[in-house]
Symmetry: C2
């Protein structure tokens, strides 16, 4: 059993005291070596390191954290990791965490029913975290009245501002404002909007951005077409739009704004299937820039969110010292490809 010298007691790794005993020094010297502090002779350091090696020493996290320091970890509660946007945000958070040598402690809430922020916060706070980020996809039932756990900075990923927590999200509203203006500037005053599902917050803000922008430009909005984010739903709406275009008349649309790229893809397929050309007959724009590498010859003009930026800001707000409460909307950038034609003049 010599090879098993690492194991002491019931599976727990050796303590600093045992290392100290083996190395013939005091426990404090071991601590100094572990934490790379100065004022240790090279000879002593070597002896301690050898003892650590022999015993398979693993500094006890609890003992270290107990003293009152930070856990160097932030909590993240996600509702649905699978959603493309959430994933990129997660990546941004992870990247920021790595730069600060933080870990990310994740818990997932049951995917079926919408969770309350209070539940998420309660489950998270019993973990070793220095702050927390709560993702809110659908509307949390207790959003307004939610009170964050005292002493743990809490950031909510949400378009809605919160009275007691900093909120961060990509500017969903601004995204459609930007795209609508873009289409208007290219002469498309008669456009159709293919929306996402009604229960999605993003979807609602995207729709509002479109509608308000048209209103500000004094352009009448045609009835919105309801999709469900999927390419097939986009295709179905695309068929309707194709019929409108083919029917002609002054109300015939010249452009389509789809609330995500998949639906835009469906719209394009339906239009082309009906013998129409994109962008010669109809211009189409999407949102998300999610088709990269996924579709051959991707040429969709779309909008890219700075999701890593969102993740980074969320992380920094969660560990930040500032106690100010902000509502941050991160802007997005237009990605011009070739599905929009300029029809002015």
């Amino acid at each position: 059993m010599e090879g098993m010298a690492q194991q002491t007691r019931n599976g727990h790794s050796a303590s600093a005291a045992e290392v100290a005993a083996l190395a013939g020094v005091s426990r404090q010297t071991v601590s100094r070596v572990v934490n790379g502090m100065p004022n240790v002779t090279e000879k002593t350091r070597k002896r301690v390191l050898a003892a650590m090696e022999e015993l398979g020493f693993r500094p006890n996290f609890a003992g270290a954290a107990l003293h009152g320091g930070s856990y160097r970890s932030i909590g993240l509660c996600m509702y649905n990791i699978t959603r493309v946007g959430n994933l990129a945000t997660l990546e941004g958070i992870m990247q920021a965490a790595r730069e600060h040598d933080f870990a990310v402690t994740m818990i997932e809430m049951g995917g079926d029913k919408p969770y309350t922020l209070a539940d998420a916060s309660r489950r998270m706070v019993e973990r070793p975290v220095d702050g927390m980020i709560l993702n809110m996809n659908r509307m949390a039932p207790d959003f307004e009245e939610f009170v964050p756990q005292p002493g743990v900075r809490t950031v909510i990923l949400s378009m809605y501002a919160h009275p007691r927590c900093t909120t961060i999200d990509s500017d969903q509203y601004g995204s459609c404002e930007l795209l609508t203006n873009y289409l208007l500037e290219h002469g498309h005053s008669n456009m159709r909007f293919v929306a996402g599902p009604e229960n999605s917050i993003s979807s609602r803000f995207r729709e509002a951005g479109w509608r308000d922008t048209l209103g500000r430009a004094h352009v009448d909005a045609a009835p919105m077409l309801r999709g469900d984010w999927s390419a097939d739903s986009g295709y179905a709406m695309g068929e309707r739009i194709a019929a409108e275009v083919l029917a002609g008349g002054s109300q015939a649309p010249t452009a389509v704004l789809a609330a995500n790229d998949q639906m835009a893809l469906g719209v394009i397929a339906a239009l082309e299937n009906a013998g129409l050309s994109v962008p010669d007959d109809v211009s189409v724009v999407g949102i998300d820039d999610a088709l990269e590498g996924l579709v051959p010859h991707n040429r969709l003009t779309t909008l890219r969110f700075d999701l890593r930026g969102v993740g980074k800001l969320a992380f920094e707000a969660a560990i930040g010292e500032s106690s100010s409460i902000e509502a941050i909307h991160v802007p997005s950038t237009l990605v011009e490809r070739s599905t929009v034609r300029d029809i002015r003049g």
Copy 2:
């Protein structure tokens, strides 16, 4: 500052002792209430709960864990979260974790250079985790010689078996074995294989599965076509295949096995662009079943991995009591749609 009664000292939440003092009971009684132990009068419990509420008590994780219990968390080290497969695996792990009331502590390794298992393990072990799962996308340089941290069960997500750790992965080899046999059974003895990039382990196993299966069936393998997972690379290979088909002759392919769905999509687009019909002229199969909702009228016959199953098994191996070391390959299932034609007879 009455509303700030929650905050004591420098941002730390109140201790059980302070709660005890306020409630006029012993600290041990507070502990009993917190942990829901029996033998506490209802009246006492109420008083303690009230005191906890007033002070905003948060049980100190370190203090509790110090006693030697479990952290109720497993570590996960990921190389690249963005990859579709990794995401689904993560989801499986999260789901299993939730069922056991575990959290998942994630760290990400720098996305640019391949990481060593030793690095990942070292960074992970200083966190409060009861076990760890290491993801290995490319070949880790130290795979063979890696020795897991003593006392922390370590699971590697890898197709290769490891001498000292349990390994788990979707059966990449078996996936192409299954699909190749499927095509052979449908009369396609002349098929082309569009591979993924050379540095990907999955890619290598998928290619080997295809090649070996053809060998066992005594069918000559045509030269493999090298893609890079992207739809555009699939399109490029599809153009070459189309040329071969149109050239005719006994060596003209009747089917294509693409190592992922995106490339299959590209192949189909190229074939159809060349005036060929799928599946009437050429059959095409992909792998991953990744196009759901993403593409209108998805009809690609493909293979679905049980990635959640992989995640679940990995989690359970990481917290399991059994010290046996296994190499688990989780099988996948065929998803028949309509891009393969039976040309027997």
